[in-house]
Each structure stands twice: as C-alpha cells, then as structure tokens.
C-alpha cells in the first residue's frame, strides 16, 4: 500500500506500508544494528520515535515470544528498506508484519533508508509523519510540523509501570496487592542482593541481567517517592533507561537526588542522565543520537575497549560535571561523549550505553557484577 513519509524540514519519501492503512508520527531516528529488530521494537526508550533500520532487509528471522524487551511494541512506526515476509528461524512463531499489525504499529518499507539516514545525520533527528491516507507530501510535512517535539516531553510517565512488580525467573511477576511490594518485608531471598529498579522504561534484559548476577529485583514506578524506597531497605538501587528528554523528568531526578549516598546506585542510559542532573550536571541533545550495536567505548579504568549497544538521543555534558566529585570512567571513541562515570566518594556509578545489550554485544556485562560487588561492600 502506497504511503508518504514526511519530515518536518520538508523532505518527503514515497514508500509503502506493509501493515495496512494508517497514520503515524514521531521523532525519526536511525538504528545501525544489523540484527535485533524485535528487541528494538519493544525497547521503551524508543517510545514516541519512528525508527528506521539502516540494514535493508528486516523480518528475516520473524519474531518469537522470547526476544522482547517490554510487554509491547514501543516504537511509533518502523521504517525499513525491504520487508521480508518469508521468515526462517527455528524459534520464530510469527512474521514481523503480523506482529506489528497485532499491536497496530505501522511498518513502512520500500524507502531509501540510506538516503533517510544520511539526511538525519546531516540535519539531525526530527519529527516525521507517515500516512497511507493522505498522500499529499505538503500536507504531510505540515502534519509532521504540528506533532509535539521530543524536547521537553516527559515520556517516562507514559512508559513507567503503574504498579510495582517483582522480576523473577526472567519475567515480571505481578502481585495482587502491589503496594505490599513496597514494604521492607517484601524481600523473599535473603541470600540475594535486594535491588529496587526504578523503572523509567526499563528493558527486560536489564532485569534479567540483574537477576542472573544474583539480585532479587523489585521494579517500582518512576514516581515512587524516596521515602518509600528508603523504608524498603534495599541493598542497592538501579536507575533504568527510558525514552526521551531527561530534563522534564524532574520529579524522578529529585527522588534520585534525595537518594544519593543512601545505597549503592547503578544507572543505565536515562539512569546516568538522571544521576548527572541530580549531581548538578547538564544534559543536551545529540544531533542524531547513538543507536546501534557497534559503538566503541573505552573504559578509562582498564584501558579496554568495549563494543556496546546504544540507544540515546541525549547525553550528559562532560564539562558540566564537578570533577572533584565525579570521575569519568567511560568515553565514546567515535565522538568523545560521556559514556560512564562514578562518584569519587559515594557508591554510585552509571553508564550511558547498554551493558545488557539485547540487541548487541555482551562486552560490558561485567557491570552487573560490579554493581553486586559494590553492594557487597
């Protein structure tokens, strides 16, 4: 089905929908990973974004019930060069198109995704509008311009869970009396580290990695007050990834600020941004972000290079951090941006990239063990 893909700066692409009629909009971004589309689709950090994959053939291995990073598809729309209806993989249970359709998410193909990527690289991430109903390019550009901007939007409140839940045996475990999870007697495994995960849009694989590293995880909504967290008496606090601009998430940032030094803290992605803001730093928007599975990061403590999975459009400005309290531990080798820090006195560390990968390389898995060791002290 014919479709139009329009960007706010006036560039349009003719393309096709492989999921039937519809309209969709959001911030257009590109991901350079060659595998892992199902994980990308379900990553809450992509909430509100129209994601294009730079690898042209997508759908090859279908989708399966396991490779999910949240309970739903999160992207606003999915844009690829050539959709593969005939998937092949022993774990596959469904085609990508059926999966998208079942959740009413638009899939777009037959678009010169390299041209789109080049455009976004040169002009920066921007709003896009897609339609199969209105094929007039000019009107679609207008519509793209009238959609809300990513800057200033608090998307965390959209993706954070309404109620707390446990993470056990690799999946969410909901309690009939969710509020009971917020009490100090909620912890069931004395041998494990009791970790509260502040869920601002956490990827399941982070929770899986925490569990594998020996943690008992209770996941709480992002608006859970510091006082409640304190009374739960956890061994550590995990600050999750999440979508969009960290600045509007001031309430959670305030919670984080209140909790600094209370217990060991580990943050990933939005987690590092919230910590950065809580410690007085600044964040800013990258021109087109880092999204992919091949970003080289140097660990300044070991001198080693980690190939990392990344998905972020905002970053903590390195020079906004107070060097007397914060030590830079990781930097991006492509553009020198901040990828990780630790507090010089408090048991706090965080990374901008995704050590849980999924999709992507496992080079940085050691960070989960580091977190457990930090809680040991």
């Amino acid at each position: 089905m014919k479709a139009i893909f329009a960007l706010e700066d006036g560039r349009t692409f003719s393309c096709k929908s492989f999921t039937g009629p519809g309209e969709a909009w959001g911030e257009a971004v590109f991901n350079t990973g060659m595998t892992g589309y199902q994980e990308v689709l379900t990553d809450p950090s992509y909430r509100g974004q129209v994601v294009t994959m730079t690898y042209p053939l997508i759908g090859n291995y279908g989708v399966n019930p396991e490779d999910i990073e949240s309970n739903r598809i999160q992207v606003a729309a999915f844009v690829i060069r050539e959709y593969q209806p005939c998937y092949s993989n022993w774990r596959a249970t469904q085609s990508l198109a059926d999966y998208l359709k079942s959740q009413q998410v638009m899939g777009i193909e037959d678009l010169d995704t390299r041209a789109l990527t080049l455009h976004l690289r040169q002009r920066g991430a921007m709003r896009a509008f897609i339609s199969t109903e209105d094929l007039d390019p000019e009107r679609c550009v207008e519509k793209a311009r009238s959609t809300p901007s990513m800057i200033g939007q608090n998307l965390v409140q959209v993706v954070t869970p309404e109620r707390p839940f446990r993470w056990e045996n690799g999946q969410p475990l909901f309690d009939d009396a969710p509020q009971s999870l917020l009490r100090p007697d909620a912890w069931r495994f004395p041998g494990k580290k009791a970790v509260i995960a502040m869920d601002c849009g956490a990827k399941y694989n982070i929770l899986r990695c925490l569990e594998e590293a020996g943690c008992e995880v209770i996941v709480v909504p992002s608006d859970t007050p510091a006082s409640v967290i304190r009374q739960m008496k956890p061994d550590g606090i995990f600050l999750s990834n999440g979508p969009g601009d960290p600045e509007p998430v001031h309430d959670t940032v305030q919670t984080v600020r209140e909790l600094l030094g209370f217990r060991p803290m580990f943050g990933i992605c939005l987690g590092i941004q919230m910590l950065g803001l809580a410690m007085g730093g600044r964040t800013s928007k990258l021109k087109f972000g880092h999204r992919g599975a091949n970003q080289p990061v140097k660990n300044l403590l070991t001198g080693r290079i980690e190939i990392t999975s990344q998905n972020h459009g905002f970053v903590v400005d390195i020079d906004s951090l107070d060097p007397t309290s914060v030590e830079i531990t990781h930097v991006n080798l492509n553009d020198g941006t901040l990828e990780g820090f630790r507090h010089r006195r408090l048991p706090i560390f965080a990374v901008q990239y995704h050590p849980e990968a999924s999709p992507g390389p496992h080079d940085a898995r050691y960070l989960f063990d580091d977190f457990v060791r930090l809680m040991d002290r």
Binding site: T32, M34, T35, C86, N89, W90, R114, A115, I307, G360
Partner: protein, 1081 residues
C-alpha cells in the same frame, strides 16, 4: 600502546603461486601489510615466489626475494638479512606452515627472530585437531565428535561413540578422494575400507556428520590489549558439506536473530582468547543446527584468510593492514579508520547493503572429474556483488561471474532439464546448483522439497522464488514495461538482457526505454558505518535507489576495466597490470577509476585507485559508470579478455577506448584480416584456415595437413583448444569448439611439431616499438604458453633469430598501430620463424617480464596510452638482464581426481612461480622448487618416452647416467637405451602385470619420472603412471624438453650452491653494468 621500537626489520612470507584455495587474496593481504609496515618505518623483507604479485614489486618491500618458499630458503634469507621479527599470518597456509617449520627447526631461536602476530603454540593449538578440541572443551564449546582409525575394528568402536551418520575422511589423499558419508554400519564397512586404501598412510578420520547444518563465519580482530572486535559475519548459502571456498556466501548473516548471533560472537571471542592469537585477524567457522540452534565449531584459522579478504571488501575495513599494525604493537583505538578518517579501527563495521560472493569453477577443463562439490575446495576464483537487497546482489553476482549468464536464469540460456535431473542436481552440490534451484522453482517444485534436497535455508529459497515470480510477471507482458514494473525489475537485480529476453525485445531497446523513463542506478558508498559518519573514500556500488552519492569530480579521469573473477587463463597477472595502470595514472595526476568484481584482488582495494566501483564487468553496468563519471577514456588492455570483449560495444556506444583501437584488436583476432596483414609484412604463419561447420573444418584440414590445432576465436587460456591428429577426432572436437564461442569461426592451424615456442612482450607508442622481453619456452610449441615454463633471456635461440623476432614484432606493432602493450607468440622450427598469435593487449607474462627486467611495462604502457611517447617516458632500448629468469607454471591436478596430468594446448595451470639466478640450471631448479617439485640429487630416474622422442632421449639418459642416477625404463625405451649403451633396468608397464612401475613408485624406488606421450594408444598406461607420480609426490615431467631442463637443474644443484639474492640486488648489478635503470623502482 604505540608501535614497538625494539624491532626494526620484519620478514613477511608470502603465499607463493596461485593455487586452488590460495589465490590473489594473499597478494592483497601481503601488499597491505608491506605498505602498512613500511609506512611505520620498518625495514620489510619479503619472500614470495610469485612474480605476478604486487607485493613483490621492488618498491613494496626493502628487500624482495623472489625465491622458492621452503623452510630451507627462508632460513637462508634469515641468515642473510637478520630480521628482528617474522610475521607469519599474512601469507596463507603456505606462509604459516613455512614459518612453523622454520621455527621448529630452531632457525628463529638461532638468529633471535621473534614470531609476531601469532606464537608457535597458538598456531599449533589452532591447527592440531586434538589440541583444538581440548581448547574448545575448556571454553565450553563443542567441535564435531571424531576419531582416527587405522583399521576396521577401531573404526567400528569410534562409530559407536559418534553415532550415525558419520563422515569418513581418509588422511593424506589428493583432493579429498576416497571418503564419504556412512549412514549405517554397512556403509561404514565399505567406505572405511576404501578410505583406508586411498589414504597414503592407511588412516581415516571418522567425524560426526553435521551435513546440512547452517554454516557461518566470523572475522575477528584482536590487539595486544585483548580488545576483540568482529569485522564481518558471513552466512553460507550452501550448508555444511561444501567447502566454504566453494559455497555461495552472504554478508552479513541473514537468518540468525541477535540472540543467536551474539552466541557466535561470544564464541569467536572466547576462541580467540583461548587459542591465544596475540594480534591480528582470524577466521572462525561455526555450524548451527537449523532444527534447534545447536552450535559446533568447525575450525579456526589463526591468520588472515580468503574470508578476511572478502570481509575487507564487503565492509571497507582493511583487515590485513590493521593486522600488520596490531602486530607491531598498536592497539585498535590507536589506528584510524581510513574510510571515515575521523573514527578509529576499534569498532565493528555495520553495513547497509547485502553482499554475495559466488565462486567460479572450472570443471570444464577437467572433464574426467565429476562436477560435484565436497569439503575439498575446487573453485579457482570468485566474484563479489553488492546490492541493497539480496535479490539484487545475487543477480549482480551471477552476471559478474562471466560464465555467459546474465542473472538468476531468465536469460534464454536455461534449457529444460527433467524433474529427475533437477532433483539429482539439487541433492548433490555442484557448480550449477543455483540454476537448478531456478529450474525447480520454474517447474513449480515446492519450497519444502527443494529445502529437503538442498538444505539451503528457506529464507534464501524464498528470495529466489521472489525473483522467479518477478520473472514470470515480466514474461507475462510482451509490450514495453510500465515505469513501475521496470523499476521493480531493476530493483530485483534483473539485467537489461534478462528483461529483453523475457519481454521479447533486445537489450539496447530496454536500455533506451529505461533511459527515456529516467530509470538509472544510483551509486551508494561502502563506508563501514551505514552512513553514521561521513566517508572519505570513494568506494561505490550500484543499486536502484533514488539518491546517488557518487561524487563526480571535474578532474581529468580515466577508467580501468579489471579482469573479473579469477579463472584458469585469466588471473592475478591481469590484476597486477590494472593496478600498475592505476598507479601510473595517479602519478600523472589523472584520476583513476577502477571497475572490478573480484574481491580477492589488490585492484579492488579502496586505496589502489582514486575511485573504486565494485561492479559486474558487463556492458550495461560499465556504461552506467561511464555515463555517471564521463571519463576521457577507458583502458581495456590490462584486464585480460574480459574488458577486451567489451571494447567493441563500448566503442560503438561512443566511449573512447584508450590505446590500441578496437579495429586493431579485431585485426589481430580476425584470422582473415590477420593473414592479410602478415602477408603484407612478409611474415609467415603455420598453414591455416577457418571453418564455421564441421564439413568446412574437415576440408581445411585436408588442405593444410594433419596434425592441426583447432580452437574457437575470442577465448582466452586455450579453452576448447586441441591438437588433432586424425579426421575422426576433428569431427567431434570441432563441434565442441563451435559451441564454446558461438557466432565466431573455429580456427584451424597446421601444428608444428617439436618447434620452439617464443613469447614476446612489446610496448609501442604508435610510431615506435621497444621489446619488453623475449621468452623462450622450455616445452615445445603445442603446450599452452600458460602451462609452459619459459626463460628470459632466451637460452638457445641464435642472435640472428632474435633479430628476426624483434623485427617481426616491431613490424606488426606498427601495422596494428599498437599504443600500449602487445604480446606475440612465435614458433621457431628449422631456423624459420612462424607467427602463432598476436594479442594487442597486456599478456599473462607482463609481470614476469617486468620483474625480470625491472621495467614496469604496464605503467609505461599507460603513459603511452595517455599520449606520451617512448622517448618521453625514457624507454629507448630493450632491457636484457644479465641474470636468468625462469617462469614455471603451477598445476591444480591434485585437486582433480582422475584427471590426466599431460599438458596440451588447453591451459590448466592456476599460477606461476619465478626462479632467478645467474645461470640457467639454478634458475630452473629454483622455479621447480618454487612450484613444489623437489628435484632429487640422486636415486632412480624413470624414463619412458614416445617413439618420436627416442633419439633425443639418448642424451638425456646419458646425462642422468653421468650424474650417477639409476635409470629405470619400460621395455621400448629400455631396449633403445641398451642398444645405445645406456645401462637401465626395465619394469613392467601397468598393463603388463605386476610388479609394475606404479608398484615401484609406491615402494619409493623412483625419484623422478620422465614420461612423454600423447594420443590415445599409450594413454591408459601413461595415465596410471602420471597419477601415481602426483599421488606420491614424485617429481615428474611429461615433455622431453622439460626433462632436459630438469637434468640441467639437477646438475647445477649438485655442483653449485643455491644462493638467495634480493630483486633489488639483481637490479643494482644491472645498473653497475651501465644499463639504463631509470624505471627500476
């Protein structure tokens, strides 16, 4: 960590001659390594016996030894040059094995040479099956269960352990003969029995079968800080059971989810660490069970490999260059990524296109070997193609192969095999299997059946089905296609020729229709990063998209057409010429634009030319680039027959051809025009004629007299060429020749028996000609020049004859208005000169001549094509070196079971080596050594010659007798020798009963075999003998001329010492002798 300063000089071992499984990818890797190390200021010492390589250009290394790659010779070089380090991982298996042998012999310890890149224990851990298995167990990975058996009892016990099906592989056999798959105990009995018999050491390996599993490869890099990155992932379309070199492969992996891919990535990194490859690139192969995802490790190469070259070209990440820099101490984050210029090498390339590699086979040259693919590699070359979809890349790849196909079928050459035939061809892997998938799809066979027969992943089969569906749609409409439909067809990779065939028109009409509709390909960049960063290097591929990234400059620019996939008759020699041409253009400040489809080559390195278009060498694809770039001309002289065949069409389309004009090419190729020219010049050729039918051929042969040489025109490498002695033979063969080159007449020449063949390379500016080199062949005329050893300067031609050859060559160059290079083949018989063939283009011998004389012919020729004169480039006289250079051919017979090793007019060699010395004997001996023939210094020589050779064999016999050899003969030759007082011992021919000569070979009683013969009478006896020689690695020759040269070589080896001398020293000697050395570089 910055580079090491405690080492200053580094020895690199090259891969030697081009053989099956070791082709010009190692020139590519070696060249990159030499450049990278020299750039860092190291003194680079290089050994490689292959003169057709860029790496052996005297500028590439500080000391270049074109010497046989044997542990002994390498030891001598080490003794002489005293390098601080040896880098063993860039010269293929030859380089690695030789380095290991030198290390084991204690040479490295004696001279304090450090092995860098990979240590001896690491190499052994990766190469030794048992050590490897243990290593894999330690890191929780599995390799297929296996065991070694030397008798039936053992094999039964191992079979119980492994479970059926079991793969039986005899140890030490040629070309993987004698093995098979046992599905039950009964199979096991028969297969193991025959395997034990086939094995030279009576040993078989039994291995758990993973036939039909999916096969994957990862290219891995590690630095000395233990940083590991994956450069490229590759999926084999042909599942386990077909050698990866013979498989059609795709990058990146298509059918694994991220979870599964990451398991392979984790495994590769663990293997890298466990094996302990210090720095550099390695290749890890996995098999994955398509039913459940179980993984086994197939193998690991602790060195740069064929797949590394492919991965470099597929991603733009120069693996060999980076590997060389890592070996001297840099870490990945210290080496810039050339493509972006801003980011570092410490990342994993991501690609936004699909790459398909397709092997090129040559079974037609070895009709005795069945066209079936196994775990022993048989392909001689490969092509790579890039598209935005798999379908586009696959179709581009198939037309890049230059096998007369224009895509995935649908080109009017499909034929109609029966369903039974199709099933058989699908079930047994073979060189044309993909086309049988096409047949199966066309005939409506369902996908699950095709899958069951081939085990090709359904994803790939579905892609192929989509192409066939498009084909059917196109065929359903006979009128000009609508814009949308045409666009769709092009996006699915259909060539104009396919579309023309399907819609009942011609390619030119399709092209015009397309142009009218504005349907043209776009050019996209290969940039390692999927457009995330700006790319600095212009490395392009075409695809049907709307936005093109070609950056067209306003500079003077020239396009060079490369040679496409390697094949027998057209290989690295032509790539060498193309690379030199590009260098010359760049030196002149002219933008060089390279077009080629062969991923193994130096020409397709992104920094060889100013621009690289990785594209099929077809008229359609080349014209698009011409229309985009608008170069001032196209060079077709250097890429062999491939570009030459395009020259007429390009010329007709108004594209300027630089240098010699297509009319002249036609005059040299067209027999009648050529004959008229010779007549004008007073030159003679063997009596000849042309025929377009069998009847005509018979009539011609009657007039000129048997024996005759028959061949098709416009074919390189003596394809379908034969010496025919009688009428009945002529009939059958003419039919084949007509089929080999349809539309062109068959050429019939009188065959000059026992003539000396001479090869001449000459260079001309259109008014004056200088001889590049005159080479005298060892083997007589009738043996294809590519298979013949040759000597420069000539060793037996009289000065007057050399004068005559020079005169004739110059006259022809003038008449053909050659601008650039020309090659002439002559025969000399009874002091008379015959012209056999003239090629107004670079020949296979150009690199050899350039190495022998130090004159860079291809570079100079490029300058002439750009309008300079010989005076201006400073080449005034022929360079005749004082040293003797011998070129010897290297033949692939050990890969082709059952093929006779007799040489003939059809070229069979895959590569060449060069031997250089101050005298003929040693130069010849070195060439033999380099080609793998270990000449004996004592023992028994077996001599059996055809009647015609008997007279001349007497001197040969006496020579060997004088040197103390025992002489073993068959009855005829024995009686003849005895009659002339040459003592000899007679053994039975095979047909005469045992014990016979093959028994004597098996028993190690024969150390050299001289066996001449042709025709069918002696064929079977001689055949068994020659195969036995090959199997038991006894040096052999099938020509008397070759035997005489061998005797001279042995004499020199016995009386003189084998010195090693660098090319730079040979050239310096010539300079001292007062010759003009301006070109030696």
């Amino acid at each position: 960590m910055p580079k090491r300063t405690d080492i200053h000089s580094i020895l690199i071992i090259g891969a030697g001659p081009i053989i099956i499984s070791q082709a010009c990818e190692f020139d590519y890797s070696g060249t990159q390594a030499c450049k990278a190390l020299k750039e860092e200021g190291y003194r680079v010492i290089l050994i490689n016996s292959n003169p057709a390589t860029i790496m052996t250009d005297p500028k590439m290394a500080d000391r270049t030894y074109i010497e046989p790659i044997t542990p002994d010779i390498v030891a001598r070089i080490i003794e002489k040059e005293r390098p601080d380090a040896l880098l063993p991982t860039l010269g293929g298996q030859t380089g690695l094995n030789t380095a290991v042998a030198v290390a084991k012999a204690g040479v490295l310890d004696r001279y304090g040479v450090e092995l860098i890149g990979a240590s001896l224990p690491a190499i052994q851990k990766a190469e030794d099956r048992d050590l490897f298995r243990q290593a894999m167990q330690r890191i929780g990975l599995r390799i297929p269960k296996s065991g070694i058996a030397t008798d039936m009892e053992q094999s039964r016990a191992i079979a119980r352990e492994i479970g059926f099906p079991i793969i039986v592989r005899p140890s030490f056999t040629l070309g993987g003969t004698g093995g098979g798959v046992a599905y039950n105990p009964e199979d096991l009995e028969t297969i193991v029995r025959s395997g034990l018999d086939a094995s030279l050491i009576g040993q078989v390996m039994l291995e758990e079968s993973v036939l039909g599993w999916k096969e994957f490869e990862l290219e891995v890099m590690r630095d000395n800080k233990d940083n590991v990155v994956i450069i490229c992932s590759i999926e084999n379309i042909d599942p386990m059971g077909v050698h990866t070199g013979d498989s059609i492969t795709v990058a990146p992996i298509q059918t694994l989810s991220d979870k599964e891919y990451q398991r392979l990535r984790d495994g590769s990194i663990a293997i890298m660490r466990e094996i302990g490859v210090d720095t550099g690139g390695s290749n890890v192969q996995f098999a994955v069970n398509p039913e459940n995802g179980d993984i086994v490790v197939v193998e690991m190469n602790p060195r740069v490999s064929r797949s590394s070259a492919l991965a470099s070209k597929a991603t733009g990440y120069p693996i060999a260059k980076i590997a060389a820099k890592l070996a001297v101490g840099y870490t990945l984050d210290e080496i810039p990524n050339d493509i972006t210029g801003r980011t570092m090498a410490s990342f994993e390339p991501t690609i936004d296109y699909c790459v398909v590699k397709i092997p090129r086979f040559t079974f037609e040259k070895f009709p005795e070997t069945p066209d079936s693919l196994t775990t022993a590699m048989k392909s001689v070359g490969e092509t790579m193609s890039i598209g935005r979809t798999f379908k586009e890349a696959l179709q581009k790849g198939l037309r890049s192969l230059e096998i007369g196909r224009h895509g995935f079928g649908a080109d009017g050459k499909d034929g109609t095999p029966t369903p039974a035939e199709i099933r058989q061809k699908l079930a047994t892997p073979n060189s044309a299997r993909l086309f049988y998938v096409h047949h199966a799809l066309k005939q409506g066979m369902n996908l699950s059946e095709i899958y069951e027969l081939t085990k090709i992943d359904p994803w790939f089969l579905n892609q192929m089905r989509q192409i066939v569906e498009m084909e059917n749609e196109l065929a359903a409409q006979k009128r000009p296609l609508s814009e949308d439909r045409l666009w769709e067809a092009k996006r699915n990779g259909f060539s104009d020729i396919q579309i023309a065939h399907l819609t009942g028109t011609n390619a030119e009409d399709v092209r015009m229709h397309r142009k009218a509709l504005g349907i043209q390909p776009a050019y996209k960049l290969v940039d390692t990063c999927a457009a995330e960063f700006e790319a600095a290097t212009p490395y392009y591929y075409s695809t049907y998209e709307r936005e093109s990234e070609a950056r067209v400059s306003g500079r003077r620019k020239v396009m060079i057409l490369g040679g496409g996939p390697n094949r027998i008759g057209q290989g690295i020699e032509f790539d060498y010429c193309c690379v030199h041409s590009s260098m010359a253009l760049r030196e002149m400040g002219i933008e060089s634009i390279m077009v080629n489809s062969n991923p193994e080559t130096v020409s397709t390195d992104y920094d060889t030319s100013d621009k690289l278009y990785f594209e099929p060498l077809t008229f359609e694809d080349v014209m698009h680039i011409v229309e985009t770039e608008n170069p001032e001309g196209v060079i077709v002289q250097f890429g062999g027959q491939t570009p030459l065949n395009l020259s007429v069409a390009l010329h007709r389309a108004g594209v300027p051809i630089l240098g010699t004009q297509p009319e002249s090419i036609d005059m040299a190729e067209d027999r009648k025009l050529f004959q008229a020219m010779l007549k004008r010049l007073g030159l003679q050729q063997p009596a000849n004629g042309t025929a377009e039918s069998v009847e005509e051929a018979l009539a011609v042969a009657e007039v000129i007299g048997y024996p005759v040489v028959v061949r098709p025109s416009y074919v390189l490498g003596g394809r379908a060429m034969k010496i025919v002695y009688e009428r009945s033979e002529l009939e059958g063969f003419t039919r084949l020749a007509i089929a080999a080159s349809p539309g062109h007449p068959v050429l019939i020449d009188h065959f000059l028996e026992d003539a000396i063949e001479v090869d001449v390379d000459a260079i001309s500016d259109g008014s004056r000609t200088v001889i590049g080199g005159i080479m005298e062949h060892i083997e007589e005329a009738g043996i294809h020049s590519g298979d013949s050893a040759c000597v420069l300067p000539p060793f037996s031609l009289k000065p007057a004859m050399i004068e005559e050859i020079t005169r004739a060559t110059k006259a022809m160059a003038k008449e053909l208005r050659v601008v650039g290079l020309m090659n002439v083949q002559y025969a000399v018989k009874a002091d008379r000169l015959y012209v056999l063939e003239v090629n107004p283009r670079a020949s296979r011998t150009v690199p050899f001549v350039s190495k022998a004389t130090g004159v860079p012919l291809a570079k100079l020729a490029t300058r002439l094509m750009m309008g300079q004169s010989l005076d201006e480039v400073g080449l005034t006289t022929e360079m005749v070196p004082k040293h003797v250079s011998v070129k010897e051919a290297v033949l692939p017979f050990n890969r082709f079971p059952d093929v006779d090793t007799l040489l003939g007019p059809e070229m069979k060699s895959t590569g060449e080596v060069m031997g250089i010395s101050d005298e003929f004997g040693l130069a010849f001996a070195k060439a033999q050594l380099g080609s793998g023939q270990k000449l004996p210094l004592a023992g028994n020589v077996f001599i059996s010659v055809k009647d015609r050779d008997k007279q001349a064999a007497l001197d040969l016999g006496r020579h060997f007798e004088r040197m103390g050899f025992g002489i073993v003969t068959t009855h005829g030759t024995g009686e003849w020798f005895s009659r002339h007082g040459i003592p000899n011992r007679v053994v039975n021919k095979v047909s005469m009963g045992r014990p016979h000569v093959v028994d004597a070979i098996k028993n190690g009683e024969i150390h050299l075999i001289v066996n001449t013969g042709f025709g069918n009478q002696t064929k079977r006896d001689g055949y068994y003998l020659r195969r036995a020689a090959l199997k038991y690695a006894v040096p052999y020759t099938t020509t008397l001329a070759g035997a005489i040269a061998i005797a001279r070589g042995i004499e020199s080896l016995k009386t003189k010492t084998l010195e090693v001398t660098a090319l730079q020293d040979y050239y310096a000697q010539s300079t001292e002798s007062g010759k003009d050395r301006r070109f030696i570089e």
